[in-house]
Symmetry: C2
Subunit: 399 residues, 2 copies
């Protein structure tokens, strides 16, 4: 597997564009990803009961299993917008389809931004012809910019692997940076590939990849109404059809997991106000769910996350999280490590490593391991700290 340039436009027969249509003042706020040939398509969606209109439209269109384009805007989530919102999401697909000469159902729609405001459809509709005109192989980064909300950096990647004698490319783009929590933890991620692959295999690879990446991160414990991961595979690489039972499926699957891992980590590093990246490993639990619960409790603890920000090695808060997670264990079995240093052994803390731990907390990347010594299961999660900038960013998001 090698990294290549081009992001979501890297795979063959994909073209993309992003421009400013006036939802935001200057930054690009509308983007289009198209495959010039029909592609198998699948998606994973927010489990929030309050779902944005574009999510509903995209889910409907995906029933066809084939799609050819994704139209997406940032700056407005088109959520809690009632009948009009639903109509607007349909119109967005329709307007793009008309300009592209596609069927409306070939268009997938996504929106991200503020909840509860109607989409400015006049701006969106009048931008679409220009957007289509700008479609190009070199505009992957424009799309990465066009889907940003509070993100500080763009998040995109592409890789090439060899499958059944052919070069296959996979590209990915994502946006963070707040309301990040399983399931889904992404807000938006789009995957393109020129692999010739069955829809079933694509879906399985996507579910596995997302489960260990976007579903294992938390910035702030809040689940978005607009989260979705969409994947398009157009078969232009010319490889023999790839299905789940093929041994090469692992190559594709691993490459896709590499992409979602990369994007998920980039999201956490760019988490709203984040100054630290933390990997939390909970191990030797009776069940994976036990490990998940504890990891999740630590990853969402404002006390732990503010201590991280302050580089204050207050590991007592980690112990408190483990204990309050609802998981039943004997606190006398509890070990906690910061990096390789065991700060709690058999439930008892030690201050002898304080200087060492203090130094570790100054790093940008910190590993926390919680060992229950109670079973054989484990779970890993990524999170960031909670800084004064997080509060600043979110205290006046709409105003």
């Amino acid at each position: 597997m090698i990294k290549i340039k081009g992001g979501v436009a890297a795979p063959k027969d994909f073209k993309v564009a992003a421009i400013n249509c006036g939802i935001k003042r200057k930054r690009k706020d509308i983007a289009l990803i198209i495959s010039t040939v029909p592609a198998v398509a699948c998606g994973l969606f927010t489990q929030n009961r309050v779902k944005a209109a574009p999510i509903l439209v995209t889910k409907e269109h995906l029933k066809k299993t084939i799609a050819q384009a994704i139209i997406v805007n940032s700056g407005n989530a088109n959520c809690c917008t009632g009948e009009k919102g639903l109509k607007d999401a349909h119109l967005m697909a329709q307007a793009a389809a008309k300009e592209l000469g596609f069927h409306k159902e070939d268009l997938l729609v996504a929106s991200t931004g503020v909840i509860g405001k109607p989409l400015p459809m006049d701006k969106i509709k009048s931008a679409i012809p220009q957007l289509v005109k700008k479609l190009h192989k070199d505009s992957g980064s424009d799309v990465a910019e066009g889907i940003m909300t509070t993100d500080k950096v763009t998040k995109e990647i592409a890789v090439r692997v060899r499958i059944k004698g052919k070069d296959v490319a996979i590209g990915g783009v994502a946006k963070g940076a707040g309301m990040i929590h399983p399931n889904m933890a992404t807000m938006l991620c789009f995957i393109t590939t020129d692999a010739y692959i069955t829809r079933r295999a694509l879906k399985i690879a996507l579910v596995n990849a997302v489960d260990k990446s976007f579903n294992a991160v938390s910035v702030d414990g809040d689940m978005s109404t607009n989260d979705c991961v969409l994947a398009l595979a157009n078969g232009s690489a010319g490889n023999k059809l790839l299905d789940k039972k093929d041994k090469e499926f692992a190559i594709f699957s691993d490459a896709l997991a590499y992409i979602t891992d990369y994007l998920a980590k980039a999201m956490i590093r760019d988490g709203e106000g984040a100054t630290k990246f933390v990997e939390i490993i909970v191990k030797n639990t009776k069940t994976i769910l036990d490990a998940k619960r504890i990891a999740n409790k630590v990853a969402t603890s404002t006390l732990f996350k503010t201590a991280l920000f302050g580089e204050d090695p207050n590991w007592g808060r980690i112990a408190a999280c483990a204990g309050s997670s609802g998981v039943i264990f004997d606190s006398d079995d509890l070990d906690i490590y910061i990096g390789d240093v065991r700060v709690v052994k058999n439930g008892e803390g030690s201050s002898k490593h304080n200087a060492e731990i203090k130094k570790l907390f100054k790093n940008r990347e910190i590993d926390v391991t919680i060992d229950l010594n109670n079973g054989k299961k484990a779970y890993r999660m990524w999170t960031c700290d909670l800084s004064s900038d997080y509060v600043k960013i979110n205290a006046d998001y709409t105003t």
Copy 2:
């Protein structure tokens, strides 16, 4: 019922004291509450699996059902301190008992503060004689000060009610201000009363009172390792024995609930960095658990709480919380009110009240109502905002 002065020292035959023993630099950090006659005693404790040593000792002593004193320190939680911690908690009870001429088992012990540091037992032991000498009816406020950690204000109250022809006093003292979340949400609360009441009735009244107060608040979603509510009833009011079946039980029960409500609200108003007090009501749900889940999700949403701090009427975040709570409902039935203003009707937001809502968000006290129009159950919770001061306070708590 009338309010009276004196806090936990208000009921007959109670005396209290608090001094500085050197755990903190200057502020009072050790306190003693005694009844000069034996009292029925009961307690409610943190459900954290990681329990501080004093919690274990107090639970053991409460098996006797009778107690006569509470010794408590702030500045050090005596938690994750292993065998030595347990020995220290026993020693603390023993030293106070000896000086008071009580049995060791008559002493209840509590600690609050940093996790993972051994108690400075020399300081504590040498302070106890002076503490006992200072015992007085007028020192209720000293105790309120002596149990504070990051609290900015003391929290105490006392009331008098008429029960079976006699004046009965109930006093209460509590500390916040972080790691506040069900169950328990208090860190520490001590209740004293001169009511002559069965232990069973006292426990029932306490459970009911705590359930609607300390168990229905959240500052930061973190559960402490040291939380406890302890109640002592010494019978000195001279009323005829009060049991659960007596009609006057409601008078006692209501008065106790008034006290825990008052203290719980005071804790939220004094929540770390808090600038707002929010009452969240979730109503017309199928089950109380549904209502609880949604209330809890909103009360712990960093996005909602930072928007509150910024006085940014971003009600979309409330809708996102309801949807991601795990409760199954139809988003088309969802109504959301800020104060009396309906900002979401049948799942659809309206911006026409924006100016009005913006004004409401400037108040120190804000009511949020989430109506699922889906059943007949309801739940109420209190929380505060998440401010830049919260981050500041917790970023360097131990350093």
